[in-house]
């Protein structure tokens, strides 16, 4: 039998029928929906007289434009309220379970799916959101879709797809202290570029990946889309199974052993052939900071901001020139000389309990620098309650951070959490595009520990250097 990659195994097990040519109809195990990309899909269903085929495999939450200050659908403005009301009405009409703003488990769709055990190995999971790649951390094929496809999945519980190419990203060795999964994925994107994964499904493997928690793996897969990959994947293992055990929607006792036996078959065969392979030594990865306006414009915190002339590609050089102007920085400057105005710790990339623990360890007993506005936005009601129970919320509040309600918040500024024009933000989110956090906002992507350190110092800090210096004493 021909050796297969993990992606190929899952893909083939979901083929309902070939459609024509190279297009297959694939079954969708979980369809997650939210307020922003679903209203037109429900309207389309209604217009065509169709219904939701499998409301039992569909789950909705409110996350993108909710206020993180007040639990009220009125709190983020009139148009947001209408969109949230539309979601509630659509879910009611079509019997789709909804975790609304008042539900204790409400949160960012890519945080709550795993938390509730909805996300499981071997599944195909889709959502009208590009960061659906997050769920690949469990060994599922998970990818973002547009609204027309949301309508297609609602109507048929399937999608028409073609087989993607496969990319193997191997991270060998062990990560240095203070180097996190966020730094790993940013380094990978820096090497491959924002389009390096276009047309591919990326599988992450190697000892550094095996050593990561589920939270870390989710961060890694979350940003696979930032290199253009259709999805990111990690083969499930004992860490995955331990995370899932006991989750409300995970296989219950009578099915648990059978599920685990199946999950253990989900790996790329030793002799499976990938279309492209990249290997990076974990030891070579340092804390990363983006300096420009797309995620491939990234450097280690101890590197100088690059000169546009240093890019051999003229279009990249021109993009660098434009990015430096937008970001208000100059070639050769040190990141550690850049003052920050805002610090945002949150988003589907870095708002899980482990992220908050890392940030709390950095800020404990210290104060946010004067003039810096610092926000912590937990990813879900569960994360928020756990952080409060562990005393993390008290640490943040004592340090001068705002402690918010769950939501997407300042990652994309659809609600009232915005960065003002010209302000510099150290953000644990996933996109440093122009205007992403607010018109004219200057976003630098970092890990939670780096963001926390920037909040305290009022500028970027090389936390690995601080650590080495402390060790030397």
């Amino acid at each position: 039998m021909m050796a297969k990659t993990l992606y190929q195994k899952i893909y083939q097990s979901h083929v309902v029928a070939p459609v024509n040519g190279s297009t297959d109809l694939l079954f969708v195990d979980r369809h997650l929906i939210h307020e922003v990309t679903s209203p037109q899909a429900f309207a389309g269903l209604r217009q065509a007289g169709r219904t939701v085929r499998r409301p039992d495999l569909t789950y909705a939450t409110m996350d993108h434009n909710v206020s993180t200050q007040l639990r009220s659908i009125d709190a983020a403005g009139e148009t947001s309220r209408k969109q949230l009301e539309a979601l509630a009405a659509n879910c009611k009409e079509f019997n789709v379970p909804l975790l609304d703003l008042m539900h204790p488990d409400q949160g960012i769709v890519h945080v709550i799916g795993p938390e509730l055990g909805l996300t499981q190995p071997g599944m195909i999971i889709v959502c009208g959101d590009s960061h659906t790649s997050t769920h690949g951390a469990f060994g599922a094929i998970a990818f973002g879709i547009g609204t027309s496809e949301v309508e297609h999945v609602l109507a048929t519980q399937t999608l028409q797809q073609q087989v993607a190419k496969t990319l193997k990203v191997e991270i060998t060795g062990t990560l240095s202290p203070f180097v996190t999964p966020k730094d790993v994925i940013m380094a990978v994107i820096g090497q491959l570029g924002t389009a390096g994964g276009n047309g591919y499904v990326a599988e992450f493997c190697g000892s550094a990946i095996r050593g990561m928690s589920m939270e870390g793996r989710m961060t890694l897969c979350n940003m696979s889309i930032e290199m253009g990959a259709k999805a990111g994947l990690i083969a499930p293992d004992e860490v995955t199974f331990a995370y899932l055990k006991g989750k409300p929607h995970a296989p219950q006792a009578e099915h648990w052993d059978a599920a685990v036996t199946y999950w253990q078959s989900l790996y790329s065969d030793d002799d499976a052939v990938f279309d492209k392979t990249v290997t990076i030594a974990a030891e070579n990865i340092k804390p990363q900071v983006t300096w420009g306006t797309n995620p491939e414009q990234v450097i280690a915190v101890d590197q100088p901001i690059p000169a546009p002339e240093s890019f051999s590609d003229l279009i990249k050089a021109d993009a660098a020139r434009r990015a430096l102007t937008y970001m208000g920085i100059e070639a050769g400057q040190k990141l550690t000389d850049l003052k920050v105005d805002v610090v945002f710790i949150g988003s589907c990339t870095n708002s899980r309990i482990e992220d908050l623990r890392q940030a709390a360890a950095v800020v404990q007993g210290k104060q946010v620098a004067s003039g810096v506005r610092a926000l912590i936005v937990p990813g879900s009601g569960q994360v928020k309650r756990q952080a409060e129970a562990e005393g993390l919320a008290d640490i943040f509040k004592a340090s001068g951070f705002e402690w918010r309600e769950p939501g997407c918040s300042m990652c994309l500024g659809m609600n009232d959490d915005r960065v003002e024009a010209g302000q510099r933000c150290a953000s644990t989110s996933n996109r440093n595009f122009e205007g992403r956090q607010g018109r004219g906002a200057r976003t630098h992507l970092v890990s939670p520990a780096m963001a926390a350190a920037a909040a305290i110092a009022g500028r970027f800090v090389d936390i690995s250097y601080v650590e080495r210096a402390a060790g030397a004493n």
């Binding site: 029928a17 109809l25 309207a43 499981q120 547009g146 297609h152 276009n198 990249k316």
Partner: protein, 200 residues
């Protein structure tokens, strides 16, 4: 056989990595409608902070008013999965985008709205940009023959997935096509429920 899918004025947008946050910023995503996004297209580039049109942005140049073919560079449409991006492009009046490459989700979203996205080699894109520098361009897109007709007997051929080409030419309703597989979907569901009952 020649079948003209589209024809019209070309607007050159000389940038790599144009992301969907630039194509349509977040403040326009709270709509529950599929319409009304033409004014939002490239909003932060197209309008100054005071709401006046930015005279330096290519879409505002007098010679490109009424353009229906957008020419750009690599990795167009990267970022968010918002289908509002192709809606805005289409409602503004573009039905064809020519680029070196496209982000996957944006590509699918555009095709699902009946737009044609053409990928060409970097050297062909460069050639087309150089034509635009010589003066405004009016091109015809022959989808069946897979060529961009530049005029004066000049043309550039392009590749397209045969399934996508067929869908664009026939205008098939893709949900309708999948619904024809209802018996197979039912049988897949039954098998799934018996073999992996934990999946729900």
């Amino acid at each position: 056989m020649s079948q003209i899918f589209a024809q019209g004025l070309v607007c050159p947008l000389d940038k790599n990595n144009v992301d969907t946050d630039q194509i349509i910023p977040k403040q326009f995503l709270t709509s529950v409608s599929r319409d009304g996004f033409a004014q939002a297209l490239f909003y932060d580039w197209r309008y100054l902070a005071d709401g006046q049109p930015n005279p330096d942005f290519v879409l505002n140049a007098p010679q490109y008013q009424g353009a229906s073919i957008l020419l750009t560079r690599a990795n167009f449409g990267c970022g968010s999965s918002r289908e509002h991006a192709p809606w805005a492009i289409q409602q503004y009046g573009f039905n064809v985008v020519i680029a070196e490459s496209f982000a996957d989700i944006f590509f699918n979203n555009s095709i699902n709205n009946g737009m044609l996205l053409i990928s060409l080699s970097a050297s062909n894109i460069e050639f087309l940009f150089s034509r635009c520098q010589q003066g405004t361009q009016e091109w015809k897109i022959d989808l069946a023959g897979q060529q961009i007709i530049l005029g004066n007997n000049a043309a550039v051929g392009f590749q397209i997935d045969p399934d996508i080409k067929q869908r664009l030419l026939s205008g098939l309703d893709f949900i309708g096509v999948s619904e024809q597989f209802a018996p197979q979907i039912r049988s897949y569901e039954q098998q799934r429920a018996s073999q992996q009952p934990w999946l729900g």
